[in-house]
Symmetry: C2
Subunit: 670 residues, 2 copies
């Protein structure tokens, strides 16, 4: 952090001219002259103060000399030439127009009469990470105070500290998140917070009339909380000193060289009305006389960015699979447990008392995380959908180091597009040179010309505001349920491409059925007797409907290719058929295989029940042929009665908490 | 603009498989096969469609050949090797895994059976500027539809069209700005608008079931208006077709090659809730059958940025000087007229019937302008202050090609800091490599630790949202009136630096008075008998007060140096004295010279009435010595009785409309 320069005059010298630098050549002026001079600090050197001797010289003077104490370094710059001035003053310089004196301190000295305070602040790091200088908030300069956001920069070389939103619940006893406002911080709370160090170095005490103050702008006060140990002798009890209704806090000046440790927590996630940047200022105030307001002598600023909420794509390894137990899905649960065991992750079953008959685990919540250099933990985004699973996230997920966030519309009606089957995220991609190291969020929306359904504004705005996974809006309103997970998903691949995008494809299904018909499977019954390739191929209405579905998917395919920088070789077409419901919206005709559960190399696919010949389903065979070469093991799960008939499939009925990205979000450039 | 691909199947072939590309090798498939293929366009080539022959080949096939018409270009890419396929089909390729066909059209052909539509859109330019391709909105690709803002970029190489807010008043008859909503556009209106060209090239008419639609997102609809000529045969009557409540507009497909001219106007300036970016989409919709919703076949997008409101610094040449005529400023007006004549610009006097005794012309309005490649005109920002001059901007300024904009707080109380003497702009500066080619806005504010006065939020947010003159907030609340123009201004300089920043300086005044005392002026009466150097220097209370004032100015000096990248050599200290009023806020003791009117090389300075010896005022002499070397001619105007006694000076009582910057704002990088 930058340096504070103390009073250019000691208060006693009040009647003296205020800008003592102009006194320089006038002898005793020197004594005061260097008071205004900050010591050259190791961590944040500040340009020595430049003074024009002409402003000080008697009118008509043509040259000057100067004396100074050893502690002061004086450089004379004339006509671009810089030269150190000897302390004894045995040297004269011409009083040229451009002549400038540069004053600095050789070392900090601690006499009270010398009046130096040096304050450094805010390493948003625990000691372990403190090493990474590019990410400490140090090196802020007073000027930044006027434009704090300027002092937080993205990228590997980026500068600026990071805050975590206190959105977990340290004590299971507590209801809701965080701490009751203004309550003292508990040790676990402190571990989530960013440390802010205020360094002071100077005289044993501040001269009369000086005050060191921490402050935040009113507009930032509801986004940040600062805690400070109340009385070290009485154990580490940290009390709330800044933020919320407290706009400033007078710091007890410890005297001499000292480090004051503050702890800072975030209170809000970035949002439409909040960029995520918060600034904390430290100012040295001077009261020159009774009745006069304090004057700022110096201000320094630390900029924090609140860590964004980040989603985890299918390509990240699973930690826990969540599924609901309902009256009719016992067999499904058994198959699911097999799959999860194969994948070597944990299965958590949500039982009736909690799901109240709501089986759509995918739709109620989205799992993500937040990440700072000192800490990272999962955070669940709760959908405004609020079905039977309504209480699940707060009652079962929120806890110590497990955060919770939600966005509820005030007036807007909630639609099926607000369920989080309609919120997915791609693997990391590069689009025309631009990198998305955390992938891009995919949201299903209505086609703009039709006043259709759309994800509610507050949730969309929240997702955009996180910045690091720039959302892409797709067209999903052509579907009855209207979720993106009904036509697109991503699977990891063992090859160099790293993943494939899978799209539901009526075209591929027709193509396959035509081949099978030629091969003599025309009458092979499919989907438990509800059809046969011949009957499907000869059904003109169905063809028209699927042609329409294909158009809608093709339009999304174009957007996905451009926005994710994909080529045809990154895309696999998964056979699917759709039918139209009474409202002219599409629903899957047979179990929609693209709606799969991806657990590393193990994928759980809705069993399609396609045309069977010689005991094998040609749809399953086709999909195996697509996925097994990528190193994936396919399990086909029967979800017909328990999910498909209710217009969902395997993916809609499950949810996965995955390991977070290793790449820090702040290294990227949104 | 990109290309539209037409139906992959003619509607008649509805019962055919939807993805006709998969038909390719199947012979007549070719006829349909290339329907999906866009012609390779000169302006916006689109990657030819890639098709995997394997998806089309009979199961087990090991190689394939293909025929195609001359109009089609087919490339076979196998194992990274690309090769053009002869039309006659006399060539076989292995059916390898990675084998891909790339299809393109050699030229656009216009048989109806051929079904191609090519649409290009939006040159936000009049012919004159159309030359600059980097600034046309052309070359947008369908994918951008999902992320229109991605398609507007800053800088010399930047892309994207520009809109002007229709904030002037074409007909003097009209009250208020713009046009009554949805009224047809008048020819002068059209001249302010950006032209958007929709190019089509294809068959004489669209096949049954196809529709070309212009549309905007609901969130953009209140920010843009689109006009189209109603019936060319009945003269150029342009009617409102898109925007406000109209979310889409079905375009009459003209057939063959055609250009449809639309005209686009902006309706809102950038603001906290509006980035300034607006997107207009064109989509080709396909209705496959009765009862089915239309499916989007293709979407293309044009991104417009609404031109920001831009302020003009003192370094730009004046066009018109505005001043009020009030009962007691007759002599001041005479002096002002002399100065304006010298500067060779125009003087506009606002008389009593309009100013209703309000003489603070600086405080009621701020002059700026908006700029697009096809047009630029002045726009006045009206302050929420609303004194006697309240009606002046709308009644006297708003008119043809003279725009008006204002921001009024809903609840917040308006303070003196909302007057535009508290809103200034620096000359162009470069700060540590970062360029501000239009300078930076300066706003006076309160010091954060004190719950002081601050410019009202809506105005501050408006100023920040313009982006191109990134505001700097200073500390002006220590002054009774609280305006930045009480302690800082900028003057042009004939030298290479181009300008100097002038700061009010009690220090410089004390310094000067001490010298004069030594020279024997101690008793020279100043300021019409209200003081003398000796009396000033010996007044301890006054010294304390000015020491305080100096502190506040020094704090601002630090911020200005950092935020504007200035060195001491860019700064001149103008002698000033302050006294404290009953509320402990500072007011000028003698006329505050820094509050000057700058008209190119002619500056009108408040006459300070300083110590006079041998008929000359030492303050005037001092300031001449500072400014004349820069090539400035100083006129000292007596404003004591007419302005100074009322806590204002020359600058507060005047306002200037200046010539806009030549540099286009979109060339910069905010």
């Amino acid at each position: 952090m930058g340096l504070t320069q103390l009073p250019k005059n000691p208060p006693s010298a009040a009647a003296q001219p205020p800008e003592s630098c102009t006194e320089l050549p006038a002898g005793n002026g020197l004594a005061r002259g260097h008071l205004g001079v900050p010591p050259l600090a190791p961590r944040a050197p500040r340009a020595p103060r430049a003074v024009s001797p002409r402003r000080a010289a008697p009118a008509g003077a043509a040259s000057f000399s100067l004396k100074h104490t050893e502690a002061v370094s004086v450089e004379v710059e004339a006509a671009g030439q810089a030269e150190a001035a000897p302390a004894d003053g045995g040297r004269r310089w011409p009083l040229g127009k451009g002549t400038v004196l540069r004053l600095g301190m050789r070392q900090a000295s601690a006499e009270a009469g010398d009046n130096k305070v040096r304050s450094g602040a805010a390493e948003a790091r625990r000691p372990g990470v403190r090493a990474a200088p590019s990410r400490t908030a140090a090196g802020r300069s007073p000027a930044r105070a006027a434009r704090p956001q300027g002092s937080w920069t993205w990228g590997p070389e980026g500068q600026g500290a990071i805050l975590l939103v206190n959105c977990d619940r340290e004590s299971p006893a507590l209801r809701g998140m965080g701490r009751p406002a203004l309550a003292p911080a508990s040790p676990p709370d402190l571990l989530d917070m960013s440390r802010m160090v205020l360094r002071t170095e100077g005289p044993p005490e501040l001269p009369r009339g000086y005050q060191l103050v921490l402050h935040v702008a009113a507009s930032d006060a509801d986004k940040v909380g600062v805690f400070y140990v109340q009385n070290p002798s009485l154990g580490q009890r940290y009390v709330h000193v800044l933020g919320r209704r407290k706009l400033f806090h007078a710091v007890r000046y410890p005297g001499g060289g000292a480090e004051l440790d503050f702890f800072v927590e975030g209170l809000r996630f970035p949002d439409a009305a909040f960029s995520g940047l918060v600034s904390i200022h430290v100012s040295l105030l001077e009261t020159l006389a009774e009745g006069l307001p304090a004057a700022p002598v110096f201000t320094d600023t630390v900029a924090f960015r609140v860590a964004p909420w980040i989603m985890t794509p299918n390509t990240l390894p699973p930690v826990t699979v969540f599924v609901c137990s309902v009256k009719d899905n016992y067999l499904f649960l058994k198959e699911m447990r097999k799959l999860v065991d194969k994948a070597g992750c944990e299965l958590k079953v949500c039982y009736g008392y909690m799901n109240r008959g709501d089986r759509w685990m995918q739709d109620e919540v989205e799992f993500g995380y937040i990440h700072a250099p000192h800490k990272s933990f999962p955070v669940v985004l709760d959908s405004p959908r609020d079905g039977g699973l309504k209480d699940f996230p707060i009652k079962e997920l929120l806890g110590p180091d497990f955060g919770y966030v939600t966005r509820e519309p005030q007036l807007e009606a909630v639609s099926s597009l607000d369920s989080f089957g309609n919120l997915e995220v791609s693997p990391p991609v590069t689009v025309g040179g631009k990198e998305y190291p955390l992938g891009r969020i995919l949201i299903g929306s209505s086609f703009p010309t039709a006043a259709g359904r759309r994800m509610t504004r507050v949730v969309r705005e929240f997702l955009y505001a996180q910045q690091v996974q720039a959302p892409v809006e797709l067209y999903s309103d052509w579907l009855s349920v209207g979720h993106v997970d009904e036509f697109v998903t991503f699977v990891p691949s063992a090859d160099t491409q790293g993943f494939r995008m899978l799209l539901a494809s009526p075209a591929a299904c027709y193509q396959l059925f035509r081949e099978k018909q030629k091969e003599g499977w025309g009458e092979a019954t499919m989907f438990k007797g509800e059809g046969a390739p011949r009957r499907v191929l000869s059904n003109e209405v169905m063809a028209r409907h699927n042609q329409y579905a294909q158009r809608c998917i093709d339009w999304n395919r174009d957007i996905l290719k451009k926005e994710l920088g994909l080529t045809e070789s990154d895309i696999l077409d998964v056979p699917a058929l759709f039918r139209m419901d009474s409202e002219g919206k599409a629903v899957a005709f047979f179990p929609n295989m693209v709606n799969m559960l991806v657990l590393s190399a193990h994928v759980g696919i809705p069993k399609p029940f396609g045309p069977v010949l010689e005991g094998e389903c040609c749809l399953e065979r086709h999909v195996r042929a697509l996925l097994e070469p990528l190193g994936l093991a396919c399990s086909f799960l029967d979800d017909v009665s328990s999910y498909h008939r209710l217009l969902g499939e395997v993916h809609c009925g499950t949810n996965v908490r995955r390991r977070p990205f290793r790449a820090p979000w702040w290294r990227g450039q949104p």
